[in-house]
Symmetry: C2
Subunit: 353 residues, 2 copies
């Protein structure tokens, strides 16, 4: 492809649904989940080829060292690391991606990708980026994941008119549906999962932000211009960044602009939102157990073990997960994965005592 691409890796979030693996000081993107490298490393490693420039990372101040260390360890030292003093949602992230992209190379495209997604078919992903790249000179292109099942935990993108081969205008963004609606989406074949991945020209994103989210853009520009610089590290100005409205890029721009497009694709995408997904995605042994780390399993079936501590032994239990890290040990049915946040909150309060 003729376009240079700057990968901008969004490494925000510090979810509680993967406690005690994901903890505020080291959320899930910094862990190896069912892969040899950590999620942020996998994210950087799948963007290979002459088209891709060195990545930009956007993360919380407290994760600066982790980002630098983990990316340097795989020879993907970031061109810039933009430190948010606190989270301000994805419109601010998209603005920072556009501002830093313009600084690095205003002619390049920005590929904005979350650090904590799984993509098992990187070649298909790369092909989708190629498909999107010409359109991305004039539109903000999203990637629509072929809905494998009627998932109610994701937003959906409804395709509009075809723009060119494999790329469509967007008819509408849909919020997380109920099951009945999700089933209709899957049957209809016009709705794809919204993966939150974007390809755009910095100039187009800045124009659309100025039209639909001018307060976000103004405050982000201010925080970026006043930022402290330390080599590749950009410390966004805290006071200015505090003025940024907290709003998602979907809600602020994508649902309003007509300069959008979607590339439907099948890239083996997954959002490891909880341990149920981790078990579902992971390789299994003959008894459908997915094990990372040292484990002794006796009469155990359909279990998930993620262990970075002393050997874990499960005897005579099915459908449970045992997560052992230096931060804690979680034991629960996989079916209760959505309640892990309760334990995470209790652990946080306990620590604060």
């Amino acid at each position: 492809m003729a376009n240079k691409i700057i990968p901008v890796i969004m490494s925000g979030g510090s979810g509680t649904r993967l406690w005690p693996l994901s903890i505020p000081t080291a959320p899930k993107q910094f862990h190896a989940l069912a892969t040899p490298n950590t999620m942020i490393q996998e994210t950087a490693l799948r963007l290979v080829g002459n088209d891709y420039l060195a990545p930009v990372a956007i993360c919380g101040t407290g994760h600066c060292n982790l980002v630098n260390e983990q990316l340097a360890a795989i020879n993907k030292t970031p061109r810039l690391v933009i430190l948010e003093p606190f989270g301000r949602n994805t419109a601010a992230v998209a603005a920072m991606a556009a501002l830093s992209g313009r600084e690095i190379d205003p002619e390049a495209l920005v590929l904005l990708v979350p650090a904590d997604h799984v993509i098992t078919k990187p070649d298909a992903f790369h092909a989708a980026v190629v498909t999107a790249s010409e359109t991305a000179r004039t539109r903000i292109v999203t990637f629509g994941i072929k809905a494998a099942h009627p998932e109610t935990g994701f937003g959906y993108i409804e395709r509009g008119e075809p723009l060119s081969d494999g790329i469509f205008a967007i008819k509408k963004f849909w919020e997380k549906p109920n099951l009945e609606t999700a089933q209709r989406y899957v049957q209809g074949g016009q709705h794809d999962w919204n993966a939150g991945i974007f390809l755009f020209s910095p100039q187009v994103m800045l124009e659309e932000l100025s039209l639909y989210a001018p307060e976000v853009l103004a405050a982000c520009k201010d925080a970026y211009d006043k930022a402290g610089r330390d080599g590749a590290i950009i410390h966004l100005d805290e006071e200015a960044f505090g003025q940024v409205p907290s709003i998602s890029i979907d809600y602020a721009v994508m649902e309003n602009t007509s300069r959008s497009a979607v590339v439907p694709c099948d890239i083996g995408w997954a959002d490891v939102g909880g341990f149920a997904e981790l078990w579902r995605l992971g390789e299994k042994d003959a008894h459908a157990n997915h094990v990372t780390g040292e484990a002794i399993l006796i009469d155990a079936e359909n279990c998930l073990v993620h262990n970075s501590g002393p050997v874990v032994s499960i005897i005579g239990l099915s459908d449970i997960m045992v997560i052992s890290t230096p931060s804690g040990i979680l034991v629960a049915p996989i079916a209760r994965a959505q309640d892990v946040k309760l334990a995470a909150e209790a652990a946080k309060q306990r620590k604060g005592r």
Copy 2:
């Protein structure tokens, strides 16, 4: 009472039924199980009063430091520590108890007690010792625990003729019975659990050993006489000790001698043979969970947590145990407690790889 008593604490055994709490380098007697102190400390601490001299400990060579440290920590520094280079069953232990007792004070009585038993009514135990002490000048006295239920895991002692108030000759020792027989024992009221606790004069024990187990006594004397001495520490001679037949004191002497007696007593005795007993004995919260160490329990009932590591969280599970130590993490239904040895063996093999 008029008799001086030398407590001799048997600290052998390295059971696998409490893995990963009990491990070969630190078996259960060196852990605090449902008590503030370790089991060997509790054992020493319950023998208080002017009648009791400083204890003797008999243990494996590898446990010498643990024994010394744990007893010194509670101001019960042992008078002697007899180190067995390997286990040779309880007849050898009784012989060593008699030999060391004779060395310390031939007029004193020896109270031979396992280091890993629970006795929740120490006053009742002390009263039973007082009851036994005069008879113990001429007979080997055992303590018969009132059978609280038809336990099939213990041996039983059948009472014979009364010798004096609260003390009986022994009609017969019975091996571990089947359930039907155990039920008959409990109903009959003449059979008590054999707790493996003995009070005797060194001279009487040596005489009975010479009559019924002369090979044991001869080899033990040889190993004791040739032992290396280092202050209070007695390193039994390995070659001589290797000649000791491995036989229990019950089988070698008690089932044969007529110079025996039993004091039936109700002393809150328990042998923490596995995690099921630990859960049964432990204090429970409102949901019948017994917890040692840091834990977050959400929708958890009838669970056992023994945790010396990072906080353990259980969500939505009942009747399970989670044991977390630096040696391993065990997760299993309490009802599978008897299978813990399988995990212990697997862990041992894994370590040996």
